[in-house]
Amino acid sequence: MNKNLRVKSSEYIDETNRISFKFNGKTYHGFKGDTLASALLANNVHLVGRSFKYHRPRGIMTSGSEEPNAIVQVNPGTNRTEPNVRATEVEIYEGLEASSQNCWPSVEFDIGGINNFLSPFFPAGFYYKTFMWPASFWKKYEFFIRHSAGLGKSPTSSDPDIYDHRNIHCDVLVVGAGISGVLAAKNAAKNNFKTLLVEEKNELGGSTVYENNEFNKINNKTPSEWLKKEIEELKNIKNLEIKTRTSVAAYHQYNYLLARENLTDHLEAKDKTNKIRQRLLKIRAKKVILATGALERPLIFNNNDRPGIMLSSAIKKYSEFYGVACGSKNVFFTNNDSAYESAISLYNKGINVEAIIDIREQSESKIVKKVKEAGIKIYWSHSIVDTTGYKRLNSISIMKLSNDGTSVTGSKISISCDCLGVAGGWTPAVHLYTQSGSKLKFDEEKKVFLPNQNTSEQISVGSCGGDFKIDEIIKNLNQKLKDTLNINETDLDSIKVEIDQENSKRNIWLLPSDKPLGKTKPFVDYQNDATAKDIKLALREGFRSIEHVKRYTTTGMGTDQGKLGNMHALGIIADTAGVKMGELGTTTFRPPYTPLTFGTIVGRNIGKFFDIFRRTPMNDWHVENKAEFENVGQWKRAWYYPINGETMHQAVQRESKAARESAGILDASTLGKIDIQGSDASEFLNRVYTNAWSKLAIGKCRYGLMLNEDGMVYDDGVTTRLGENHYIMTTTTGGAANVLGKLEDYLQTEWPELDVYLTSVTDHYATASLCGPNSKKILKKIIPDLDLSDENFPHMSFKESKIGNIQCRIMRISFTGEHSYEINVQASYGKDLWEKCIEAGQEFNITPYGTETMHLLRAEKGFIIVGQDTDGTMTPIDLQMDWIVSKKKYDFIGKRSLYRSDTMREDRKQLVGLLTDDPNIVLEEGAQIVSELNQSPVEMLGHVTSSYFSPNLKKSIALAVVRGGKDMMGKKLFVPMENKNINVTVANPVFYDEKNERLNA
């Protein structure tokens, strides 16, 4: 079985460089230049996998990215393992290991293979029909399905490789380096267009470099010889960048394309380390030239999926390019002349070709004559009605085809063979073309979908544009290049082409058998095991839309997106439903064209580069003092400062007490700060905040609430008037960017007449918030000259001062209810300021506190946090903050909405305080609130928004939003939890120092 099928030396295979690799645990040898598929075929290994549903043995079918069957797991069990890789695209290297997927326990003996014999019970829609009920059985079904259906295994440890992204801008992008792509790129670059040529394979030239039809000539040379010289010349052309092993995954609007460049996948493990494995190219091209070629179609006949049945063009490539014979007794089955070229390729190398089965009545082309002269038997007007061989094809049966092609007649002839090449014509690879949004049109004569209506500057050249013969290709390419590049002459003007003109074709989407369709297995989608019978069944059951038939039968839904069989599925639907194919349309081809690794998609944006994080100027101090951090937007904020192994609760209780009893200090640098200047600054603030701003004196601060136009609270913060036409606004930490954006929007689009300028200065200042009854004494030590008396520097006012030489802005404002100062200095002095405060506060046991204590202290005072106690559905009235809504102002953002019937409802959810009857029980934030316990269903009145144990009040406190809560003061409600019901009482949300006496303490 393991004989070597290497038949000739090939310039693409380095036979001096022998490589050993493992497939399914067994060691094989190949050569440098082989793909996993070519090396396996050289070792006479065809059976490489099992199909998804029936677990039928499957072999290598193609030589490219369209491969449906040879899907393997590369380097299984390692951290570099990758599932769903096409063996036809893996370049072998020393030490490569690969294994089959979708078979258990092994590809040779697969338990799931029993599904094949049960297949009458697996019709289209089987999964939908069977596994849906009873619902309680799903877990059992799932176990069965997951165990027997393998789609490969993802690695379990982290990816050791590096991935990269690169932006490329070019004048002309050429996709595909077959003959059309090479000539297009050459002419574009020669005409001074900055050109990028990408090719998914590792060699340029496409199928033309192994073109062997002696009757085709370009300038009296074989196309292969001629093109190799052209490729040679590309090296000397300026303006041309060539990327091989690079496949375009997506083509978006405005000529934006994503391509994956493979850099190390073909290297041995030792050469992979510390190199970029794959790079995502983000290409913006002025013009795109698609030269993506065409994919050969299989033929749809009974049992057309056995290992050993391949595309005719693949057999030719394996023979000519890799020097590998795919079988020793070969047969071809065709509807056009392509198979004859493959047959001659084998014949010239002395490989046995038993026969050609042709569904046409005849062909008079030169290549057919040559086959006849070679003595190869041709069966005209015949079709294959069955094949045999479980793990490897061993025979076919053929019968005469009726004139209308719908039935077979006469006696059955059996031909023994181990390899069958099928040739069903060519399908232009228009996937990328349609991804760009451009539209296709069906060509009834050629039976192909062709580019029709472009949405961006692009052309499709060569076979992807519908030109299959070299003379057509060159002629049309030449004209398209001149039109799109706006040039008068090209290299192609003087080319002389001779071709073997005849190439008739007889198209039959589904070939008949002597058995009825129900008894045969003509596969349309190999990977997902969809047969022609399934498609017809779907139509019988009433499915009409091609998209629905696709989903119901799973045709085209594998990792190959049905690149081989989609056209046949459409053809069978059209024939059965009696409509024209052009009227059916196609299913949508979605990116990526071939699967991408997650690594390529994320590139360098992993680990600490996953998202930006921002740190305050005092960050080092927090780290040195063992703070725990929390994420607030992109900021890393000090959360609490545990000492001596304190829990978070213990630390927060200590910090909270210290801040009220003596002194605390908070890093408030993250608050958003917007500098507002201009002669209309006061008027602007009047329009954006709910309260009045015109009369705020210079040097005074005011708290403001900002609404959305729908009347809901959007942001809040203190704004200070620094001068006649100069304010500094603070916003919430998380809201800073959005507030600036919103204010800019109003200024630019609604009120362009206002003379106002906004500048974000969040990062320009560092802010230390000093609070507690001793804060005044500490500040006095730091700035002895500043008069801190309540008369000179009262609550809600501002002073400009100096700490040593450092300019500072001090606001006497408070978010804790204590006597407090917010000291702002230029960001670079932030840590210095902080250390000065700590040092000066030493004698008062100054205690640094984090965001958690800040939240607790403000909750004691009933101060809201926008985004925690509000959720975009709370008006200021709902928050019981009527006092901040000006009745006098004619207008402000959101004002009108406060008078809508809905916002004026009495029974809206309103902010209240909640006290638990047991003062030691702390409610869970988010817990639901009800008024009845013995009723089901019961109305949910609201939920807890903030909840803490207050060390200063020595009891649990909470804020909540409750339907009609304003009028419920003192009412008993319940918070039902999983194991208990908690009794609570509605209370005033200001729990601490209701008279605000401590502000001046």
């Binding site: 609007q253 934006y256 913006r284 729908d710």
Partner: protein, 91 residues
């Protein structure tokens, strides 16, 4: 991914921009004079056209300027771009 020609900066990638909904909806000058229905019309009602649509865009990660765009939503063709306050080009 669009290529957008900011009227202040020139052609830039779409990721620098933020879409801002339908264009030419002016904030009423005297909101308090409006009925609930009239205010709701301004506040909530937006078109969602398959075809030519007038949109606001902001060069958020660039010059921060707002401008208008005429876009065919059926094929994403950008038909025109013009500054705030300018009249839409004749179709």
């Amino acid at each position: 991914m669009f290529l957008i020609n900011c009227p202040y900066c020139g052609e830039r990638d779409q990721q620098e921009f933020k879409a801002g909904g339908e264009a030419h909806i002016e904030r009423p000058k005297q909101p308090t004079e409006l009925s609930d229905d009239e205010w709701a019309e301004y506040l909530f009602m937006r078109k969602n056209i398959k075809g030519v649509q007038f949109e606001r865009w902001n060069h958020a990660h660039g010059c921060r300027k707002w401008f208008n765009m005429v876009r065919d939503t059926s094929n994403d063709e950008i038909k025109a771009i013009y500054k705030m306050g300018e009249k839409p080009p004749a179709q």
